[in-house]
């Protein structure tokens, strides 16, 4: 019978030691190859250490919580045959390890891999130049004393203007640079400093927005979920429909399609078309889908509501959207047209950005944010093809909606938008 020593593997670049967090075996336990023996934790990750051999555990080299240096013996295993009592864990080249890293599952440690060649030198074969002899041109001109002061002050001398001959940085230059930290940078000529402040009272709509946002942000634990939607087909359909629209029909934006998609999805997930009275502790699910449309107006954000979206066709919804937007912007919207929504859509159109973190329109439990459509290269398995991609950034009230349900909801909306025919197919 022989003995096999397992040492702490090199668990990562520059890691000299790791903390032992778990033993899966104790002395006397039989072990099989690839069985996990222990787990160690570096500041980056927890790594499991599998057995490279079959045998019986003889000795454990550390207790849980101990910090063990790389290459220090971790445990000894009695094995059949000659054994390798003094054979360290397989040596692996640094370069080889790095190359493997991506392909290995995280729990696999270098121990289970076969020994590899000595480290291939990643540097030039020639002598290593001292660091100070490279990049002469880029280095600031300053005496050693000035350089030392800069190092200690954490100043990158390349940021300091030198007033001396050939741009040499003097102690005075460094002093000036250090002193400037407390005051604004020197004023370029022609521009003057401004002083004074202006107080603006928050009233009216702004005050209502502020109160609503405070309420929503302080009461609702938001979970925001962002997904990419390929709207190429939808955009094609929209363009075709717009080209063929009858006189008097409004131009279709993406919103009526989204409203129809939401209506279909909410029929399957009524829990999201809901309002939550958190004081009473009651969630009210709504049969009707009243879609609030966050709309920018000259006086601020308002949310006109497309009522009974479930009963509106695409064109109908589009017409109602156009009417409400106009009314909201003109300030002629009626009070009931600005309240009573059960779910909200927010869109900044061309300013939609990549991602938003929408704030839920209290007391609703969900808000769907539309980000801008951009043509992006998409890998189709053989080549990159241009596709129109739009992100949906949606927030949910995490008290009521679990992350899973939120994800299912958004994925369903996505499926409908990606294959827009599904929006219109009955059943």
């Amino acid at each position: 019978m022989g003995e096999f020593v397992i040492r702490m593997p090199d668990v990562g670049e520059g890691v000299a030691e790791a903390e032992l967090v778990e033993w899966h075996v104790k002395p006397g336990d039989p072990v099989r190859e690839d069985m996990v023996l222990a787990a160690v934790m570096t500041d980056k990750a927890t790594v499991e250490i599998p057995s490279p051999v079959d045998g019986v555990v003889l000795w454990l080299g550390a207790e849980i919580g101990d910090t063990v240096a790389v290459k220090a013996p971790l445990l000894r295993i009695e094995i059949a045959g000659e054994g390798e009592a003094e054979t360290p864990s397989p040596q692996r080249g640094e370069g080889a390890r790095r190359a493997d890293e991506g392909a290995l599952p995280p729990a696999v440690t270098p121990l289970s891999s076969p020994p590899s060649e000595p480290p291939p030198s990643s540097g030039p074969a020639g002598p290593l130049l001292p660091a100070g002899e490279k990049g002469k041109e880029a280095r600031p001109l300053a005496s050693p004393a000035v350089r030392l002061r800069a190092q200690e002050a954490g100043v990158d001398l390349r940021q300091v203007a030198g007033s001396g001959p050939a741009g040499r940085i003097s102690h005075d230059d460094l002093d000036r640079f250090l002193a400037r930290g407390e005051e604004p940078a020197a004023m370029p000529a022609g521009l003057a400093r401004r002083t004074g402040t202006e107080e603006i009272k928050v009233t009216g709509l702004r005050r209502r927005i502020a109160e609503k946002m405070r309420l929503a942000a302080s009461r609702i634990p938001h979970i925001t979920y962002v997904e990419e939607v390929d709207v190429t087909d939808l955009e094609e359909l929209r363009a075709t429909m717009n080209a063929a629209r009858k006189p008097g029909q409004p131009k279709l934006t993406i919103l009526p399609f989204l409203i129809r998609a939401l209506v279909r999805t909410l029929a399957e997930q009524p829990g999201i078309n809901a309002t939550f009275d958190d004081e009473a502790g009651v969630v009210t699910r709504h049969a009707a889908v009243h879609v609030g449309i966050a709309t920018q107006t000259p006086s601020g954000l308002t949310v006109p509501v497309v009522r009974h979206a479930e009963a509106r066709t695409l064109w109908d919804a589009a017409a109602e959207l156009a009417r409400l937007a106009e009314a909201a912007r003109n300030g002629t919207a009626a009070r009931e047209e600005l309240s009573g929504s059960t779910i909200t859509i927010t869109s900044l159109g061309a300013l939609g950005g990549i991602v938003t973190t929408p704030i839920i329109n209290h007391p609703e439990v969900a808000i769907v944010g539309v980000n801008k459509i951009a043509t992006r290269p998409v890998w189709d398995g053989a080549q990159f093809i241009p596709r129109k991609i739009m992100n949906l950034s949606s927030s949910f009230d995490h008290r009521i909606v679990d992350g899973w349900d939120a994800a299912v909801f958004v994925q369903r909306v996505r499926a409908l938008l990606e294959t827009p025919a599904l929006i219109f197919i009955e059943g």
């Binding site: 000299a16 220090a72 040596q91 640094e94 020639g126 001292p130 002469k136 280095r139």
Partner: protein, 462 residues
């Protein structure tokens, strides 16, 4: 087994290691240094110091030897005799004084010294075989300063008549005929010394030029002097083997030549000492043969630093010392980064060569428009009065800003100019700074001022 736990462990007490340990000690870092041989490393024991002692003795002997005939100075002496064994005792005395000096400095800095061969057990633990048994040292931070050793040629293994530089520095008799394989600075320094002591010296160099790292202009006065000393220089030649009192050489022309030699000194370079002490266990990244370091001398393993010859060229004691000092300060928690502008280098040939910064060729290769000023020592009063007018001082500067990029000199005693050279480069001097600084008369340093003036177009003495 005894165990020591410390904050900093320095492996190797050469110039890099002992400086690092002393500085760390000064800064209150609990430090242990391990040395297998004598404190001071290659430099102090078998390198810079003993070779300079031998070179000095050879110069003195050579001077006196030339006073047996009537001469310009009007001094005549009886034929001098040399007792090389005594010379070596004197040299060993100096080495011994410096050895104990280093140990004293380490003790004064409260550094614990462990004598013995260190061996890595893991990233932070070293086992040392001492006279009194095995000793385990655990440290938070480790500095590898194991240095370098002479490269051996497979065809000419060290031993018997084939000497490394260490062997040559221990000779007690001057060989009648000495072949030097490798015409770098070590080979030429020792070859010149033995020629002055009376040996018939042949230098065999594989490159086109001896001192291949220096430009031809700088090397020319050295070649001239080698000729005067009767040293034969074969360039483009390869040493093949040594047998029956002769070194077989393949000459530049492809012919085989046998060079009669009682001793063969092999000085074909030095290689980093990276084997035999468990470094393999650490699996550190390499840069060629050397341990790869970054601008803070950190290796690829956290808490493990490397300094000196084991980290690359130039393999010079003062580079290792500067690195050692910097690492000690980093370990003590100070913010430091390697930002040296120049590492001066000196060849103690006859005449001496000193360089700092870029040669004209190197500066041009880096894309600089340059101006070069050269002042010859035959226009320098001090040089004339010391009977050594060969050589010059040369200044290389950017043409646009006159920023000094490099300074070189060749001539008797010019090694001491290295202070002015590297100071000028570190301070970011322009030619005007050097030209505008009063240099004492009569000294060779006036050559530096004149070279700067020459580059500016207004030298006064040529």
């Amino acid at each position: 087994m005894k165990e020591i736990v410390c904050k900093l462990l320095v492996i190797g007490a050469g110039p890099g290691g002992y400086i690092s340990a002393i500085r760390a000690g000064q800064l209150g870092v609990d430090t242990v240094i391990v040395e297998a041989a004598k404190a001071g490393g290659t430099c102090l024991n078998v390198g810079c110091i003993p070779s300079k002692a031998l070179i000095h003795a050879a110069e003195e002997f050579d001077k006196v030897r030339h006073m047996t005939a009537p001469n310009a100075l009007g001094i005549t002496v009886e034929a001098p005799r040399l007792d090389l064994a005594q010379t070596m005792r004197w040299k060993d005395g100096i080495v011994g004084r410096l050895n104990s000096g280093v140990l004293g400095l380490l003790r004064k800095a409260k550094v614990k010294i462990v004598h013995g061969e260190a061996r890595f057990r893991d990233g932070k633990t070293v086992e040392v075989e001492t006279e009194t048994g095995s000793q385990i040292i655990r440290a938070e931070t480790v500095v590898i300063a194991t240095g370098s050793e002479p490269v051996e040629l497979a065809a000419l293994p060290f031993g018997g008549p084939v000497l490394s530089s260490t062997g040559a520095l221990a000779l007690t008799e001057v060989p009648q005929r000495l072949a030097v394989v490798g015409g770098g600075y070590i080979g030429l320094e020792l070859g010149t010394a033995f020629a002055k002591l009376g040996a018939a010296v042949t230098v065999v160099e594989a490159a086109r030029q001896v001192l291949p790292l220096y430009d031809a202009e700088l090397v020319r006065p050295v070649l001239k002097r080698l000729g005067e000393l009767g040293v034969r220089v074969l360039t483009g030649a390869k040493a093949k083997a040594y047998a029956d009192g002769a070194l077989a050489v393949e000459t530049d022309a492809g012919k085989e030549e046998r060079i009669a030699a009682d001793k063969v000194l092999v000085t074909v370079g030095r290689r980093p000492r990276t084997e035999g002490w468990g470094l393999e266990e650490l699996d550190l990244d390499r840069a060629g043969r050397f341990i790869r370091i970054d601008e803070r001398c950190r290796t690829s393993m956290r808490g493990v630093y490397a300094i000196g010859d084991v980290t690359g060229e130039p393999m010079l004691a003062h580079r290792a010392m500067a690195q050692g000092e910097m690492v000690a300060e980093i370990v003590a928690g100070r913010r430091r980064v390697w930002d040296k502008r120049a590492i001066p280098a000196v060849c103690f040939t006859d005449p001496e060569i000193v360089t700092a910064g870029l040669s004209p060729e190197e500066a041009r290769a880096q894309g600089h428009e340059i101006r070069v000023g050269l002042f010859p020592f035959n226009a320098n009063g001090r040089a004339m009065t010391t009977q050594s007018e060969d050589g010059f001082v040369r200044a290389v500067a950017r043409a646009d800003t006159n920023l000094v990029l490099g300074l070189q000199a060749v001539g008797a005693g010019v090694s001491e100019l290295s202070a002015a050279f590297s100071l000028a480069l570190e301070m970011g001097a322009r030619l005007e700074d050097i030209a505008g600084t009063i240099h004492a008369h009569p000294t060779r340093s006036e050559g530096l001022q004149e070279a700067a003036m020459k580059a500016l177009g207004h030298a006064l003495h040529i």
